[in-house]
Structure formats: C-alpha cells, structure tokens
Symmetry: C2
Subunit: 700 residues, 2 copies
C-alpha cells in the first residue's frame, strides 16, 4: 500500500519542475465539487425557465402545474444521484458510463453510450454558452443584441485557451461556482425574507404581462403531453451529473466515498436552487413564453420583435435585488461565468473520452496518448466546430438548443443503470457473505429503479421532443456510432493482416539473406560523409554510394572530389534526363531486388534538419518524396541520417516547449497511476546494468 | 554527331509508351510559329485600340497621329526581331534573356531580368484573358456584362487544365492561331477590296459618335508626352517576342536558323496585321475613348455608363463583315481563343523559368526537377492567384491592366540586348577570322541599336506610365528580386555550413566507433518480425528490442509471446505513465548517447504502409512524430522498415499515375538532351557487371 502512495509522489516530486504535471494533485471535496459540478449546477440557470416556457403554451394559468413538475424532477434527480453513488463505489477507476455499459452490456451498448456522450459534450458547449450569453445580456443588452456573434466568439476564446493548454485549475472553478451558488442562495433567502417577513410585493419585470395561450382548454391526453414536455425540458437540470463518476481517480482518498458524498452534495444544491428559483419565479409573477414577441401581451397588445426575454434567474434577481442593482449584476456575471465553465468542462471531457475510445480502437490510436497535443487539438477543434455550427444554426437560442439536449444524457443514464443491474446480478451469483449480499441487493434495487425511471424519461423525451430537434441529436449519435464502428473494423482488419503466423514463419516469409546498402550522395559535404561513416559501421554485405546525374558539371565535380578524398566506397552514377531523383532510384532499387530477390536493400539518405518552417520548403523535399515512394517498394529499408543545421536548434526548442504543453482535462482525470511494472529483460546480451533505465530518466 | 541524334531517338522510342514524353517531338516551323507566337500575334487584338484610346484624350482629330506611332512601333518591332535573331544564333540552348543577362552582365542583371519576366507572365495572363473576354463580349454581350467573373472563371479553368497536366499540343495551338491570322488577313483584304475597289462606305458601329477631348489644343511638350504615351501603350504588341528565343531547343534542325526564320515570320505577320487593323480602324471611323461613358458623345450627349466599348478589331470586323455576321462571330471567337492560348503560354513559361532559377538556387530546389508535379503546381497556383487578384482589382479592364504591362518586357529586352553587345565584344577580342569578325560586328551593331532603342522605350514607358500603374509592376519585380536573393543567400549559407573540411575531417568530427541498434516493438506481428530480421542482418554491434509500456496487459502479452517464440533479441521495456511513445524513446536514446558518446544509435521503426488518405490518420502518427523528433537528436540513424498492407497497392498505383503526369511547357522546352554521360564506378567492391544500369532501366 505504501508502495502505491509512494509512486505517484515520486513521480510528482521527481517531476516537480514540469508544469504540465503540477495540476495533478488530488482534489479535496470542496474543490472537486466546483470542478465536476459546474455543469449540473449551472443548469439551474436555464432549466426552470424551460419548464415555464413550455407550460406557457397553455397560458399563464398552466404555471400552477410547475410545482408538480418540479417534484418529478426532484425525484428524478435523487434517483440519478443515488444510482451514480452505486457506480462510483463499483467502478472507482473513472471509466464512467462507457466502461459500465461496455463491461456489463457489451461493446455495442458501450459504443452507444460513447456516441451519446460525445453528442452531449457538443450540446453542453452550445447550450451553456448560449445561456451564458443570455444571462450576460440581462445585465448588458449588447450581448443579447449580438447573441450569435458573442456566443461564437466565446466558443472561439475557449477553443484557443484549450488549444494553448491553459490548465484547468481547481481555484479557477471554485471562485465563480461558489459565488454563483452563494448568490442564488442569497437571492432565495432574501426573497423569502422580503416576501414572508417584510411582506414586500416583489414583482418581476414581466409581472405585468399577460400570456397569450396558444392552446386553450387543454385537457386529457393533450394536457398530459404538454406536462411531459415541460418535464422533459426541465430535465436539462440533470445534465452533467455523471461527470463525477468519470472523475473518481481525481478525488482524495477514500476516493469512492468522497465522490459519493460530493454527488449527494451536488444533488442537494441543485435541487434546492431549482426549487428556490421556480418558487420565486411564481411568487414574483414571472411570465415566459416560447415566442415572447407574439405571445406575451402588454395591455392586450403583443410586445413585438424588439422584446428580448431574459432568463428566469435574472428576472427573479431583478425582482428580489432590484433591476440593475449591484447584486443583480454580480449574480448575472457569476451565472454567465459558471455557464462558460460548464462549457469548458466539455472541452476537457471530450478529448478524455476520446482517449478512452482510442484505447479500445474506436478512434485513431494517436488519441490514446495521454496529453498528446495534436490529438487533443483535433478533438477540441471538432468539438468547437460542431458547437459553433449548432449555435449559428439555432441563433444561440438556448430554448431551441435544449430541444436537442438531454436525449444523449438519458441514453447514457439508462444504459449505465441497466449495466449496473447486470453488474450486481453477476456479483450476486458468486457472493456468499449475507451482509455484502444485502448491500448488493439494495444497490441493485436502486440501480434498477434508476434504469427504469431514466428509461421512462428517455421515452418521454423522445416522444415529446423528437420533432422539436431531438432527431438532430439522434442523427449525431448515429454518425459517431457508424464512424467509430468503421474505425474499429479497419483496425481489426489490419491487425488480422499483420498477425504473425504462430509457427513456421520462415516458410511463410523467406528470410532475407544479405543486405545491399546504398548511400545517396549529391555532394561531398558533412551530411554525406556522416552517412557514409554510419553506413560503413553497419557492416552490410555490400555498400555503394549512388548519385543521380542531374547536372553533368556537378556530377563531374562530385567524382573528382570522391577521387581526391580517396573515399573507399564505390560511387555509382545514374543518369536522369528529366532531372528526376525519385524515379531512377526506385528503378535501380527494383532492379537490385529483381536480381537477387532474397536480398534486402538498405537506402541511406543524408538529411539536413532545419528549424524554420519556410526552410522546410527549401530543403529535403526530394528526400521526403523519395522516402515516401521507397516505402511502397517491398524489401527496402530506408534510413535517414540527419545532420542538424544550426537553425535546427530552434525547432528542438519548439518541440520541447510543445512537449510541456498541458492537456485539457488533466485535473479531472486525476494523477497517473503508473502501469503495473512488468519490466524485464530477456535474451543473452545487453542485459547488464540497465534495469534502472525504465522510468527514472537519468540526467533530467 | 550520329551519336547525338541517336540518343534522343533511343530515349523517345524506348519510352514510346509513356504518354508524358510523347509531346517531345521536335517542332517544324509551321507548328512552332503558333506555339511560340500566339502571345505576340494575339496582342494585335488590343494594341491598336490602346493607341487610339490614348490619342482620344486630345480628341478624334488626334487619330491622325496614329500612322506615325504605327511606324515607330514597326521600327521597334523590326529592331527587336532583328536583335533576337542574333540571340537565337548565339544562345541556341534556350536559356533566353535570363541566360544572356546572367552570362554577360552578371547574376544581378540576370535576376533583374528573371524578376521582370515573372511579373510579365502574370500580366500576360491578366491582360490576355481580360482582352479575350472583351472580344467574346463583342459577339455575346453576356461576357462583358460579367467581365470580372468570366475572366476569373477562365483563369480557374486554365489553372485546372494545367494542374491536371493537359499537354500543350502543337495542333491545339495551330488551328485557332491560323484561323485568327487568316481571319485578320481576310478582313484586311476584304476591307481593302470593299473600300478601294467597290467604293463601299464602311462604317464602324462607333463611326457616328464624337469624341470629347479631355485636353484640347495640346501642343509642344504636352502633345509629345501624349504621343509617347500612345506609343508606349502600342508597344504591348511586342510582348512575347522573346518566347522564341527560349524555345530554340524545341525546333527542328537547323534549330537556330529555323528559330530565326520563325521570328522574322512572326514579326512580319504581327506588323502587317497591326498596320491593317489600324488603317481599317481609321478608314471606318472607329471611335475609342479612355472613359467611353463620358467622353464618347452621340448627338452631343455622353453615352452613359451602359455603353460598353468593343475592341477595335471587332469594330473593324463589324464594319467589314457586318455586325453579327458569320465571319464576325468566327473572328471574335478565334481572337478570344488565341488570347486564351497566349495566357496559357504563361502557364508554361512561368514554371519553366522557375526551374531554371531553381537550378541557380534562386528558388526552392525542388522546382529544379523537370516535370515535378508538386513544384509545377505551386508555380501554377502562384501565377494564377496573382493574375486573378490583378483581374479582380482592375475589373478585368484590359486598358487599365496594360498600364502595368510592358515595363517588364522592356527591362528584359534592354538588359538582354546590352548583354548581347558584351557577348560580341568578348568574342571579338579573340576572334581572328575576318569573315566571322564582320558578321560579329554587324550583329553587335544590331544588338547595340536594339539595346539603345528598347532602353529608350523603357525610359519612355516608365515616364509616361509610372503613375498609371507601372509602379505596381515595378513593385512586383522588387518583391521577386528580394525573395530570390534571400533564397539564394539561405542556400549559400547552408552549403557553407555543410561544406566538408578539405583535410583532417577525422579531427573535426569524431569517427563513430560502434552501432547500438534498437528495434521498436509494440506487438509481435509481421512488421515487427521483418524489422527484427532486417536489423539482425545489419550486424550492428549491439541489438535490442524496445517496447514502451503503455498498457500493462499488452506489455505482458508481448513478453509472453516473445518468450514463446524464443526470439533471440533482448527485449527492453520502458514505462510510460503518460502513455507517450516519443518522449521515453528520445530519453532512452539520449541516455545511450551520454553513456558512450562515440557510439551511433540506430533506431528501426516497423511501419505499415497504407493506401488511403484516411488510413494515414489512423496509423503511423506516432511513428511519424517519433521520426521527426529523432531527427533532432544528434548521433542517431532512423530506419523505417515498411510493411506494405494490401491497401498500399492503391497508393502505389496512384503514385505511378502521378509520375506519368505531363508537365506544362513540355512542348516548348524541346526534348531532353541527355546529360553528358560521365558515368563511372570507382572503388574496389561492387563494380562487376553493373555498368549497364545507368540509363537503360531493365524490364521497362
């Protein structure tokens, strides 16, 4: 055990100078809460409003259904939180819903969950940023007037930040999240005090409006459908709950218990805020409508296209604190900031999930590397582009974007909970200890209820929202699913093609007998001399230098120098009337192979290494192309012998800097658990005195 | 001599199946004329009009100066043709003005000429296409109504054609050029017959208009200035004359004499057509103005913005053949086509000049390869973009674009002729044969007069047109000049850095003593086994396999298989907690180098070769990056051991197809003159029985 705690420490301290690893300290609950819960907590900024907007279809009188809907959402929230508390204990590795579904329901279910989550990350960005801009706009109208522009601008900003590798820090999350939570609670308490104790008659800015009911006298099935739709939209409050279950490794010990506590805390906070906001909204007579321009009436006349509908939270704040007051502005700013942080979590989660999927070969393998900049960049750009397109298409209107949301969340909730039921069944089949069995049976009951309830909600969401936009989300999921399946099929095909025959490889593939080495030469300069020296060291069976006669004068000069220096490697000249380099070399190599098919040809290419991008345009193009073509020629090895020019120092520095880039999501992943060390050396030679090389890199 | 004629033949016949070389038959005069002269011949479509447009500033009465200007242009044309006939004899290699200036006046003069020519190629495209669209528009108004769009569209079309590698064929040029020349002569003869014999009163469509003189009563210096400006604009007829001097190698034998004859032929045709068109224009009362909308009056009132001024050639055709008649339309179409062909010559000339400049290291070396697709593509795209920008900025208005033209032409004329004077001086210093001396002295006199006259015109052009747009062309020349100088300086710097010390290289650079080979291994599959087999063949001093422990389970499996198969190479495992590949390998290599700095590390990387572009995204990314990083590590060789997957066959086919692409300009360059064969082999080993490899590639 001490070994286990020791190792991360050694890595941490041993690498203390490397900035990218600094973030990987373990998170206490008070920091973990804002890091993982900014998404679900921030959703109380828009979820209550959605409920009222849908109800307004049946007129303001329908608002009296909202407490019932709130209760349903509370029950759902507690169910989901209780269910995930089971996940957190059963899967402390942080694999999350994808791992749970894959392990218990098979790879197809896992892939479905993954597709759903990927779509959801995109929507988290789109919805959170749109809603954030709307909240900012309630304080500074400029933002709502240029909604799409501002939203896309913020997406761009977050993208650049994440591409540059701005490290997610606990504190960065903690301050605005706590200000937001504190502000909402202050608003609720102050509102309750003013209303109940002082008896103030607080009025929201929209209190005086009437709502034009699009459908009056709704009853029976139509009414139930409307209530279900309102409930579906309100479920936006549940998005992001699963984040904690992905982040268990980042918690301080005891990890699972702390994560479970944080989950409960988050659920409690979210529910309280949700209830408080919707109660105050009803108390201050907030009026919301789907099409405020035509369905909100002032003195019987529609408000018209100029009217912008502020979010419920800011209307309530205006009623409680006073419109434009200090607290009002602070709360609006904190709300917007938390929403942007919620969007930022998707920037961390998306590449993280990508790296897990890459490990299972559903995505390009390079995503697999933890903190590989290029891979992460691709993921971030993909996420940001998709979100920006959605924001653009939907005019940064959070109400319309929310119609797409939630489908993915509930797909993954349902499958994950179903998987958990299987998990407990499997364990119960072998477990004998009655105490443990009792706990497992209880957990199974919770998860079963969770699976049932979230499945029901999923059906409701699909039924009520399919035509409103949920089909877009489903389409996105299908695209991800099909792409990832195709990638996996490709990898499987390749690995089958590459699989070594278990026996008699020698029959299958004729062993090469000799090596014919060729050093490509254009001039006698340092890189060439180095390449010749290296090639000689390799002691191949035959060695010759090869030059392409592109310019007779240069070739003549080369031969003269070759002779003068007395270089003891034979120099062969190939004519190239078209001044090509590649074709004559390829043809020559092929002819050698044809002469003696069992020989291997080893081509040494002296290369200069330059540092500036435009220098690349000036050098090595023919070497590059030649290498590219030689790779298609069977029985050939291609060896680059680099010569570092002075300017290459620049590129080395750049590469080092790049390597120190910190990948988004480092904090929420928790520190590296070093792989079980299976190091060992086999064979006769070269085994002496190097066992220590493995992970302590000397001279750092 | 028979040897010399034999060689190209052998190459041609031996490669008859390769489509890209088919075009390289030698050109008879009747084909060479349209190939090389489409540019100067087509310029009679706009040059006469320019003269009239400038004169119109002083009112229609100033048109009576045009015969004098025409005479000046004729004298200039004959001077230039006579001068270039000397060039063609003295420099049959086709190096053109750049070679002449570099050889005789030094590299700076050569580079100036090259910059001027590059700018001129861009302007040839812009002017010819704009003028072609105007000519088309005289038959089909749609084209003038959407001038810029059509011109850019045609640039795009030509670009795509040339990028795809549509071969320039003699016939393609011959038909429209001869139709055009025939049409213009028919028009002149028919016009003369109608006017002089039938006594018809032919009237151009603009005959009834009056010209509002912007400046009336011009006299003295102002008048001279105007006449000089008209002359400058008329000199547009001389652009492209130098093309033949670049194309001497493409002519049938006797090359120089045939080229000289073609030059004379071209001069004669151009002059006759120019005179004919301008005479008919005066006879049919064509009216042209710089701002036709306000300066052309009908019954005393300006024609207004709706009026589009048709080119002189089409106005004359309308008068002689009848507006909209069959011959009128045929001539308009042929004119447009010839102008587009003239533009196409720039597409051939630009990359051709680029390859010569690359040979002298003023441009990236890869341009050097004859027919390298990538290099040519870059040149073509650069040319097309610059021309498209100009066309867009100047609204595809040939009159305004011509203001930029000509500067470059006359810079190169003047420097080339000056260089020729030097050339003769040099030869006269040694030549003793009085007959030859007499010829040389005559040639020198012609070139000296040419240099003087074209220099004078250059000064006139600069003075009269600088503010009208010539400064843009000069700026372009400066940009090319500075860029090419910088590239040359870079190459010189690198080659100095790389230069091998003449003696005692061993002191300067410690000779490596041993090779430590490392085979990178992830799994035991065919590529790995092949890499191991190859690495063993290379008999390095130490050989080990290296695997990065990214996933403990996989590593364990690898070790098991390694053991089971009894692979006799020691396997070393490096831990990589961050699942990186590159860093641990680099660190390990560095540590080896630190232990024994005189050793060389040879890294073998098994690679799969895939065929589809998207497969590249899925594979080899880490290998690629690793190779990139290793290149910056001194004392390392990087060897790729490729394994060709089935799909790589696709890529091989693609590469072969690409190799058969025919570069633009193949026809005008003439066939390859095989480099003087200096083949030979030196050294002790490997010399037996391979002497024949050099240029006859077996098995083709």
């Amino acid at each position: 055990m001490s070994k286990l705690t020791d190792l991360p420490k050694r890595i941490l301290i041993g690498r203390a100078l490397r900035s990218d690893k600094l973030g990987e300290t373990l998170l206490p609950k008070r920091i973990a809460l804002p890091v993982f819960a900014s998404d679900p907590l921030s959703s109380v900024a828009y979820a209550p409003g959605q409920v009222m907007i849908v109800l307004s279809v049946a007129g303001a009188s329908a608002y009296h259904y909202s407490p019932w809907i709130t209760i349903a959402i509370i029950v759902l929230m507690f169910t989901v939180v209780a269910s995930y508390r089971q996940n957190v204990h059963a899967y402390p590795s942080g694999g999350g819903d994808y791992e749970v579904a894959t392990t218990n329901l098979g790879p197809k279910a896992g892939l479905t969950v993954a597709s759903a989550l990927l779509v959801d990350y995109v929507l988290t960005v789109a919805v959170s940023i749109s809603s954030g801009v709307e909240n900012l706009g309630s304080a500074v109208p400029f933002f709502v007037e240029n909604k799409t522009l501002c939203a896309v601008g913020i997406i761009l900003l977050l993208t650049l930040m994440n591409l540059r590798g701005v490290r997610e820090s606990g504190k960065l999350f903690a301050v605005p999240t706590y200000v937001f939570v504190g502000g909402v609670f202050a608003m609720i308490l102050w509102g309750a005090y003013r209303g109940l104790v002082l008896g103030d008659d607080m009025k929201a800015p929209t209190a005086g409006f009437e709502v034009h009911a699009e459908q009056t006298g709704l009853a029976g099935f139509a009414l139930i459908f409307l209530l279900l739709r309102a409930f579906s939209d309100g479920c936006a409050a549940l998005t992001g709950v699963e984040a904690i279950s992905n982040g268990v490794p980042a918690f301080r010990k005891p990890k699972s218990r702390n994560a479970a506590t944080t989950l409960a805390l988050m659920g409690g906070l979210a529910v309280t805020m949700f209830v408080g906001i919707i109660t105050l909204a009803l108390a201050t007579d907030v009026k919301m409508a789907e099409n405020p321009a035509q369905d909100l009436l002032k003195n019987g006349a529609p408000l018209g296209a100029d009217y912008t509908q502020n979010p419920v939270i800011s209307q309530v704040a205006a009623a409680v604190f006073g419109d434009g007051s200090f607290f009002f502005v602070v709360l609006a700013a904190a709300t917007a900031l938390v929403l942007f942080l919620a969007a930022n979590t998707a920037y961390n989660g998306f590449p993280l999930l990508g790296s897990i999927l890459a490990q299972d070969r559903y995505l390009p393998r390079q995503l697999h590397t933890r903190g590989d900049r290029l891979a992460f960049s691709n993921g971030i750009v993909l996420l940001a582009s998709a979100a920006a397109v959605l924001v653009y298409l939907y005019g940064a209107d959070s109400t319309r974007l929310i119609q797409l949301y939630i489908v993915g969340v509930f797909v993954s909730f349902t499958l994950s909970q179903t998987g958990m039921v299987r998990h407990w069944n499997r364990h119960l089949a072998t477990e004998r200890d009655p105490n443990v069995r009792r706990r497992m049976i209880r957990s199974r009951a919770i998860n079963a209820f969770g699976a049932f309830f979230t499945g029901l909600v999923l059906v409701v969401v699909l039924l009520t929202k399919f035509t409103h936009g949920a089909w877009v989300a489903l389409l996105g999921m299908v695209i991800f699913y099909v792409t990832m399946t195709a990638i996996r099929r490709h990898y499987d095909g390749v690995s089958e093609e590459l699989a070594a025959a278990t026996e008699q490889l020698d029959e299958e593939e004729v062993r090469p007998s000799r090596v014919h080495s060729i050093v490509l030469v254009s001039k006698v300069h340092k890189p060439t001399l180095r390449a010749l020296a290296y090639a000689k060291l390799m002691r191949s069976h035959r060695l010759e230098a090869l030059s392409i006669n592109v310019d007779p004068a240069e070739t003549k000069a080369l031969q003269t120098v070759w002779h003068e220096r007395g270089i003891d490697v034979p120099l062969k000249i190939l004519d190239s009337p078209y001044r090509e380099i590649t074709r004559p070399v390829i043809d020559y190599v092929k002819s050698l192979r044809r002469e003696s098919p069992r020989d291997v040809v080893s081509v040494f290419i002296p290369e200069y290494v330059v540092g500036r991008w435009y220098e690349h345009l000036l050098h090595n193009q023919s070497a590059l192309r030649l290498k590219g073509r030689l790779l298609f020629t069977p029985g050939v090895m291609v060896t680059s012998v680099p010569w570092q020019l002075d300017s290459s120092e620049l590129a080395r520095k750049r590469a080092r800097k790049r390597a120190e880039w910190s990948a988004p999501g480092a904090v929420r992943r928790g520190p590296v658990i070093p792989p079980k060390r299976e190091k060992g050396e086999k064979g006769e030679k070269g085994a002496k005195g190097e066992t220590g090389v493995t992970s302590q890199v000397p001279g750092r």
